[in-house]
């Protein structure tokens, strides 16, 4: 009888080429390809040089209005940020008390960062959140422990953006999970209610929801009952994002094979045990990118609260420049400044999403 002998595996050919060879194959493989490469390279260099020219070489960095006006058209006026930056970032919050939103926001962001790390996902985390919120609101609102009281309609700028995002996200996520489960429920009343909610919210723009929450809701309230504008806005944003997120999560639930819940049922697990330990961990892992989409959208949508006279980052920018004819021409530099802030946070969120996606995937296969 012949003895089977296996052939030794060897690496795929042509994979270990030098960078020069890589260039030739990918960028200069033909005449037209080479021309294209050089053209794009030239265009790239030209764009870079001219924008550097504007942003750095001819730019004015001091808060010097005269120099800025002279440089108009050829150089950027970063002086507008030196002059107005504080107002843009902090909004209408009283200037003498700016240390309070800085500390409060730092604490809030710190807790959010901790919550993003799976190793801190334990029973103490909700407690940390509760503590953080108490400290946050005492610091921000004041009127206690010798802190001057600051009305919520005075809150603004970046701290307001962060607060609206963080609180709305934290409320919207669990709400979305319940609504998604509700839409798949066997109980007709719950199913109908959840479907109605999703369809209703998806049928109107966020700006309408905010407007209603702010101006219509108080009309329906009994005499003397006043709900803080911030609360109304947070509720509006939460309800809005939760509807979209619920549909995303439902997609994840739908994708899970039926066998998983059947196996859980044969093991005697209850409905909630099954959802918590079997269904949601898998369903949520598959929709991480889309959930992050909703979160990033929510972060940027907070800029719409200007409609109800709350001046978060974008609103505060308008507040700072619209009324000042001297500095108004340099709006574009100011917008670049907040663009950078928005981008930094959105980019961080999307990197985190990639990381957590990989992490949940690893536990499945490796």
């Amino acid at each position: 009888m012949h003895v089977f002998k296996s052939i030794e595996a060897r690496p795929m050919p042509g994979q270990s080429a030098s960078p020069l060879a890589w260039l030739r194959v990918n960028l200069f493989s033909s005449t037209s390809n080479s021309v294209m490469t050089l053209l794009l390279l030239a265009l790239g260099i030209w764009t870079l040089v001219s924008s550097m020219d504007w942003a750095l070489v001819h730019a004015v960095f001091g808060a010097n209005l005269q120099a800025c006006n002279e440089a108009r058209g050829v150089g950027a006026c970063w002086g507008v940020i030196t002059e107005k930056g504080r107002l843009i970032v902090m909004g209408r919050y009283p200037e003498a008390e700016h240390w309070r939103p800085i500390i409060a926001t730092a604490i809030m962001l710190g807790v959010v960062v901790i919550s993003c790390m799976p190793r801190f996902w334990n029973k103490a985390l909700p407690l940390v959140w509760a503590l953080m919120l108490v400290v946050y609101f005492i610091l921000m609102k004041g009127g206690w422990m010798g802190l001057t009281a600051v009305d919520t309609d005075q809150w603004g700028g970046f701290p307001l953006t962060v607060m609206l995002t963080v609180i709305s996200m934290t409320l919207a996520f669990p709400l979305a999970i319940f609504v998604a489960l509700g839409r798949r429920s066997n109980m007709p009343a719950i199913k109908a209610l959840c479907t109605l909610y999703v369809e209703l919210i998806r049928g109107v723009p966020l700006i309408t929801v905010l407007f209603m929450a702010s101006f219509m809701l108080p009309l329906f309230m009994p005499e003397g009952v006043k709900i803080d504008v911030l609360v109304r806005v947070v509720v509006g944003i939460t309800l809005f994002s939760a509807a979209y997120m619920a549909e995303v999560i439902r997609g994840g639930l739908q994708a899970l094979p039926k066998g998983q819940t059947e196996a859980a049922a044969t093991l005697g697990l209850t409905y909630w045990q099954t959802q918590r330990m079997i269904v949601l961990p898998q369903a949520l892992a598959t929709v991480v990118p889309s959930i992050m989409n909703t979160f990033i959208g929510l972060f940027k949508d907070t800029s719409l609260v200007t409609i109800v006279s709350l001046y978060e980052l974008t609103g505060a920018l308008g507040l700072a420049l619209n009324s000042d004819a001297d500095w108004r021409p340099f709006k574009i530099e100011a917008y670049l400044f907040i663009t950078f802030i928005y981008f930094a946070f959105c980019f961080a969120m999307s990197r985190y999403s990639l990381w957590i996606e990989e992490r949940t995937a690893v536990s499945k296969v490796r």
Partner: protein, 251 residues
Amino acid sequence: MTSNATPIIEFKGVNKWYASNGYHVLRDVNLQFAKGEKVVICGPSGSGKSTLIRCINALEEYQEGTLTVDGTVLGDDLKGIDQVRREVGMVFQQFNLFPHLTVMENLILSPTWVAKMPRKEAIDKAMVQLERVQIAEHANKYPLQLSGGQQQRVAIARALCLTPKIMLFDEPTSALDPEMIKEVLDVMVELTSQGMTMLCVTHEMGFAKAVADRVIFMDQGQVVEQAPPQQFFDSPQTDRAQDFLSKILGH
């Protein structure tokens, strides 16, 4: 097949329709299973054999008749379902292991959450079952890192962790590569010596001949014939069974 003791499972005039399309999937099923009996259920696809055993742990509900499992009548009463599911283990064609949990976590899930067993004890007991299905060295791997045969053996171990009185197998080897079927069947043969009641939907006729006390043949939602394996394979009573056997044993 004949037993004067009370049957552990009894179907009395059971009829079932699929709610989605109104298909009459089980038609006047009358069956009794004695404690400790090993039964193989076979029949063409769509004959209702999977649905039949899925009724036993209430994965499917039925509309007419009565189904009694270990003294509990399965009906609308949810309490009865919980009771029955604690006593019935099930192994699926597609394994249905939880891919986000390790093998060990899959096994101790029900003991710790349903039977409220201390974690340490649950792990010890799970280890015994894993050794029994010869997969102990993979306890800390994730299901998808294992071969199909290994996954199915994990699924069997998971069901055994409930210490069930009844084990249901729904085509346990149908999704396996030919080389892995034997390792799963070997484990199942070993289980037959434990005195559990075993119901197995399968087309592994070798397995049926070796361990079954009785073979049930179904077609179009009906029990067409039932007999000890020797009798069923050598002299089937109906033309339908003859036809079926000639097709599956023909090669």
